[in-house]
Symmetry: C2
Subunit: 222 residues, 2 copies
Amino acid sequence: MRIALLGGTGDIGEGLALRWAYHTDHEVIIGSRDPDKARAKADEYETELSSRGLDVKVNGFTNAMAADRATVVVLAVPPYHVSDTIEAVSDSLSEDDVLVTPATGIKREEDGFHYHPPKAGSVTALVADAVPDNVPVVGAFHNLAAGRLADLDADLGIDTLLVADDPDAKETVRLLAEGIEGLRALDGGGLANAAEIEALTPLLINIAQHNDGLHDLGVRFR
Amino acid sequence: MRIALLGGTGDIGEGLALRWAYHTDHEVIIGSRDPDKARAKADEYETELSSRGLDVKVNGFTNAMAADRATVVVLAVPPYHVSDTIEAVSDSLSEDDVLVTPATGIKREEDGFHYHPPKAGSVTALVADAVPDNVPVVGAFHNLAAGRLADLDADLGIDTLLVADDPDAKETVRLLAEGIEGLRALDGGGLANAAEIEALTPLLINIAQHNDGLHDLGVRFR
């Protein structure tokens, strides 16, 4: 399968790109507003993978061109770029694609990191509202620490939660997620359940800040 | 240490009472609005513990009398009884006590369980606002599945998160929590960080509902 990581030059994009390229046979392509930046990062990822004996091609494009070439499109951009990125790629999305959204609304405040959802109720819901009606949306990878994901030597042993209203799209992303070694995908229900998943991300940061020896935290449900 | 479980006849109260009585040397007392009900439940807990070869006394009282006798007071009541229970025991609380609140605001809606905090921002904050100013409040045990806690044969291997603005009170509760076999207490920061912890509880229920083989879920941060 061909996976486009829009904002694939950013930290969560880097982690997902490297993991999919390293652990699976899926073809990863990198999208960015700036195609030169996308290509430069794609080269970096190739070099990193090559240093581990893996000879794969990673291509970089504008976000729209990356989305156009892929079946699964991951919106790996910060929440404040969600709307303009969707607008930029909207014509490249069809009902045969799956749009994956990992963004969450976090604010750093004096007393800690807190969840601040947009008016739609969650960033996932905002994305679902913004894409063309026939494009299936899956919320996933909200709670993964980017640095740990991008470090291919780091064990995961953690869970990611999927929310979607389209069962086929959810199953596609479940298989992609479980292709990453050490990552277990759990079903979080419909898109309406996204807020509680997104709220877990600021909690993970707060815990890492207050407990020595815990950093780049993930979660396992048991 | 003497621990009063207000609402100790309910499910989370039962779990904490049995675990502390079974795993530690702390004295557990049960509070209820109805002292007869408190005593009847206390007898049940004694019988359960006795069936496991543990001969301990568990006493039952009205909530106010239980709070009066204890150093650590756990408000193990549903969120809609938080305010009236605090009012009933307010005169029994002093600056030398610690009030522990595990309640969280959950609503079951058509599309899943969701977090609905009170206006204070979290149930933990509501409790902190309601108690006399000098009484230290610790949020803890928000995310424990009551049935699993009450089943002394069930392994835990999970975490609980503590929030408090008073470090000594937090340390007292940390030691109590870690006295329970298989439970790890992590520092969640100040009371202002409670909402994201409380929001984890409806998420756990949603996950249990959507994934075969997962029930009475807890969480481990790793």
